[in-house]
């Protein structure tokens, strides 16, 4: 018999980790051609570690895919290439610029125009081109209200659309992975994680993140409630503040035209956790300018195929 006392207690993070590993392996085993979406953001960096735990010493049973808006922070792209090189796994880059050049999408101009929404088309095209039937992403239910109802395996029809009223019930940890050709799923192993859980896991595992997650001096300006980077990719609007230099960090990486910074002096993971525990704003509200169009903005984009 086993002496239960010698075995450490199951903690909250280890439960979340086990659940995520289980999802990764189910997707790898039951779909023909899965892919892991890798943005070099903190959530996808956590996904890579979970994939290592699920599949090492073997290779990942899926390639990595980055949807590149062309408006990314240089340090994030450099970080992405270094991490993927060290892992020795395959990376596919799908460029929004290529979709624009091919006439698949038209660049948005003027107020609120960004490439963030164009990503959906580039993503769907990449899934179709490579025949991917499952795309694993780092989205979490705590990010936004309509995400709170997202399944761990979220079913998309052949147009990549999400029908929130016809979701498959998800019982126990038994996932229904049966799809027709052309249909696909989005898989979210981090569904039950909060932003704080992600940071605590990064701390526990000693994961390295792109430098923009920590305090640095940057040329920024204010647009409404948002602090945006001074960049040639951003068309300035009346009402924007003058450019100044400030101590900022980012809570998400993404298209720099819509990813807002926060004023912060957090230098380490521990500082960030400390800051988060006292945070006043949820992640998306301050840092994703385009979600604020309406409170149903993300739900609409998800229906269109956005991640």
């Amino acid at each position: 018999m086993t002496d239960a006392a010698r075995i450490p207690a199951i903690t909250w993070l280890s439960q979340l980790e086990a659940e995520a590993i289980h999802v990764l392996r189910e997707v790898a085993a039951e779909f023909e051609r899965p892919v892991l979406l890798f943005s070099a953001g903190k959530d996808s960096i956590v996904l890579l570690r979970l994939a290592q735990k699920a599949f090492r010493p073997g290779r990942f049973p899926f390639p990595l895919l980055h949807v590149d808006t062309g408006h990314n922070f240089d340090e994030v792209i450099a970080f992405r290439d270094r991490v993927v090189g060290e892992l020795g796994e395959e990376l596919i880059v799908a460029k929004v610029q290529d979709s624009i050049d091919a006439g698949r999408v038209v660049e948005e101009r003027g107020d609120g125009g960004s490439r963030n929404r164009l990503q959906s088309i580039t993503l769907l095209d990449a899934l179709a081109e490579h025949g991917f039937d499952a795309a694993i992403g780092g989205a979490r239910r705590d990010e936004e209200r309509s995400r709170a109802k997202e399944r761990v395996l979220s079913f998309r029809d052949e147009y990549g659309q999400w029908d929130p009223r016809a979701q498959r019930p998800e019982l126990w940890s038994l996932y229904n992975t049966v799809v027709r050709r052309g249909e696909n799923v989005r898989a979210f192993p981090l569904s039950n994680w909060t932003e704080l859980d992600v940071w605590r896991y990064i701390q526990a595992e000693g994961l390295v993140l792109p430098s923009i997650y920590f305090t640095h001096e940057r040329r920024v300006f204010d647009r409404g409630r948002h602090v945006l980077a001074d960049s040639p990719h951003i068309v300035r609007e009346p009402g924007d503040s003058v450019v100044r230099t400030d101590h900022v960090r980012y809570r998400t990486v993404g298209d720099l035209t819509v990813t807002g910074a926060i004023l912060s002096r957090a230098e380490t993971v521990a500082d960030v956790i400390d800051e988060l525990e006292r945070a006043q704003w949820t992640e998306r509200a301050r840092t994703r300018a385009d979600d604020n169009f309406s409170s149903a903005a993300l739900e609409d984009r998800k229906r269109e195929g956005y991640f």
């Binding site: 075995i7 699920a54 290779r59 209200r145 709170a148 929130p164 229904n176």
Partner: protein, 616 residues
């Protein structure tokens, strides 16, 4: 409320249920708000509108003011993390209650303090949660500000809850009077309810003991993934019962082979033990052929792999279950075909037994027997919530149509393939088989030809029948079309009817072979499970059974099409044609395979004759 160091904090999963308009979503909003889990922007929304807007995430829900889908919310206190599944109150969304409850440790039931208090729908939620193995109930009697903070309503509900808890055998039922609107007794004790002596709701949730993770069960380790790297071959999975211990003897099911755990690997190096629900990668001492879907179990208390399962189903599909229908069954890491062999009883939403158990409809609960094409390694749900659970998937729509709970398993398909009438006993004749066959110079057998429509079964079988009779053997052809003229004239072409047709023909063939004849059966018989039944029937009777796969590509069958079936199906005038609209399962290990594009009929017939011991 003392702080617990992070490495000791655990996670509590709470399903929230209750009737429409009793304030479930508002109470969750209040709980999150007062636990200071809500961040600034959500607070803005709350101030702009309703508390429930925090959880009602979809636009249709906000427009209609109701909750449609399960919403998951997260917050933590210094004691533990919480996963809250807010489940819709409407009867037609019962399936979401089941979804939320399937993973929950406890049920938080929200009940309006005003009459009628506990409704049938709230009791239904308690019943469903109990069915799914939740025996810890916390009742928040909400809107006490509307009964002027008086104790009478709460006391009445408390009595009713106590009675329900006794009836169901719940281990714990706690009642807390709260006001979601005002915040009374949610996070802190209210001064307006001096008659209530218990802790506030949040503390009740913090003190709750999570359901144990089947630690005291014998080992159950479903193999989820084979990790390969050169010669390295690790069996990766999540512990679903008991412990993995280095050095322990294990049995691999369903094969039954034994080995020992040589090592348990993790990304951070080898470990000595792993407990559920954590995951590990096992290296066995012996190089056994283990695949995804197999289960490692402790050799003591190893269950029998099950081919037949008695189960409770909560039906979630819009199309009803009827006996005879086939589904895909997902259990642990295995997906198998299952047939609903019988439906014994059906209960409606309010737990009343329905007299008519001919079908199981949306939101109903039924007791069924399922027959599986491939065995699963299961425990009763009452003993293990992971190895005892499964889902059914509709083969055509791909929808998840049922939540299944294993009650009892059997290693063999039940004896009702014999379907004896209860008061009839088999009447033994004066002759035994050997004597009969010797005197008749006969040797009985059944040759069973299976294949797509127009694959060539009839051509081969008529030639075989003729050749056998010409050589003085008593052979008789049981042709699929012919049996449908009389013996099976009452049957259709759905899966259940096809199964019944195969069963009847199998019994007739067995009688004939027992008599010393050679029964030549030419039947599409598309399902492996049905053919297996015919085979078992013969094997049990000690009679030879030769399965012949007439292997002709679908395109060729459609080209030949002597009866015009494919043409009619193509024109939409015939539905359910095997190969076109309905699946055909080729036999995995037939005694004989005839590729009609390559082998002339005469050669095929000679091969079969040789196999039957009939020469020249």
């Amino acid at each position: 409320m003392s702080a617990v160091p992070p490495h000791e904090q655990d996670l509590l999963r709470v399903a929230v249920g209750g009737s429409v308009d009793h304030g479930k979503s508002s109470l969750i909003g209040r709980l999150l708000l007062d636990a200071e889990a809500l961040k600034g922007d959500q607070l803005d929304e709350v101030k702009r509108g309703e508390l429930s807007h925090v959880t009602d995430g979809l636009r249709a829900e906000r427009e209609q003011g109701i909750t449609i889908d399960v919403a998951y919310r997260y917050f933590s206190t210094p004691r533990r993390g919480f996963v809250i599944a807010d489940t819709p109150g409407h009867t037609r969304y019962t399936r979401n209650m089941v979804t939320g409850a399937s993973t929950a440790d406890l049920l938080l039931l929200v009940v309006d303090a005003r009459p009628p208090g506990l409704t049938e729908q709230s009791l239904r939620h308690v019943q469903l949660a109990h069915l799914l193995g939740i025996d810890h109930l916390v009742v928040a009697v909400n809107k006490i500000e509307l009964v002027d903070y008086e104790p009478e309503a709460v006391t009445a509900i408390q009595h009713e809850i106590a009675a329900t808890a006794r009836r169901l055998g719940l281990t714990q039922a706690t009642v807390v009077p709260v006001s979601a609107l005002e915040g009374d007794n949610v996070v802190t004790r209210s001064t307006r309810t001096p008659w209530y002596q218990g802790p506030p709701l949040l503390q009740v949730l913090e003190d709750a003991v999570p359901r144990s993770a089947a630690e005291y069960s014998p080992l159950r380790f479903p193999v989820q993934w084979i990790v390969r790297d050169g010669a390295y071959r690790g069996l990766a999975g999540q512990v679903s019962g008991g412990y993995l211990n280095t050095g322990d003897e294990v049995t691999v099911l369903p094969s039954g082979e034994r080995s020992r755990i040589a090592r348990i690997d993790s990304f951070d190096g080898p470990v000595d033990h792993v407990r559920g629900p954590l995951s590990g990668t096992v290296i066995l001492e012996d190089n056994l052929d283990v695949a995804r879907g197999d289960v490692l179990v402790s050799t003591d208390g190893a269950p029998q792999p099950a081919r037949e399962v008695d189960a409770t189903l909560v039906w979630l599909g819009s199309e009803s279950l009827t006996p005879g229908r086939r589904y895909l069954l997902k259990h642990l890491t295995r997906r198998v075909r299952a047939t609903a062999a019988s439906l014994r009883s059906v209960y409606d939403v309010y737990d009343d037994e329905k007299g008519d158990a001919s079908e199981l409809a949306l939101n109903e609960v039924g007791e069924v027997t399922l027959r599986l094409a491939t065995p699963i390694v299961a425990d009763p749900y009452a003993r293990n919530r992971t190895t005892g659970a499964f889902i059914l998937i509709d083969e055509l729509s791909h929808d998840t149509v049922a939540a299944g709970l294993v009650r009892e398993t059997r290693a063999q398909i039940g004896s009702d393939e014999e379907q004896k009438s209860p008061d009839v006993v088999w009447h033994p004749g004066k002759l035994d088989r050997t004597e009969r066959w010797q005197h008749l110079h006969a040797k009985g057998a059944t040759v069973w030809l299976t294949g797509l429509p127009a694959s060539g079964k009839s051509t081969i079988s008529t030639a075989l029948e003729q050749a056998l009779v010409h050589r003085g053997r008593l052979a008789y052809l049981l042709d699929g079309d012919n049996v449908r003229h009389g013996l099976s004239g009452d049957l259709g072409f759905d899966a259940a009817s096809r199964a019944e047709n195969v069963r009847r023909v199998a019994h007739v063939a067995r009688f004939f072979a027992d008599a010393g004849g050679i029964a030549v059966v030419a039947l599409v018989s598309p399902f492996a499970q049905d053919r297996d039944l015919a085979r078992r029937l013969h094997e049990k009777a000690g009679l030879p059974f030769i399965e012949v796969f007439v292997d002709t590509p679908l395109e060729e069958c459609a080209r030949r099409d002597p009866k015009g079936l494919y043409a009619r199906a193509k024109a939409g005038r015939l539905s359910g044609l095997t190969g076109e609209q309905n699946p055909y399962e080729p036999p995995p290990a037939p005694e004989v395979t005839i590729k009609t594009l390559e082998e002339p009929v005469t050669d095929a017939v000679e091969r079969l004759m040789a196999l039957l011991g009939v020469v020249g």
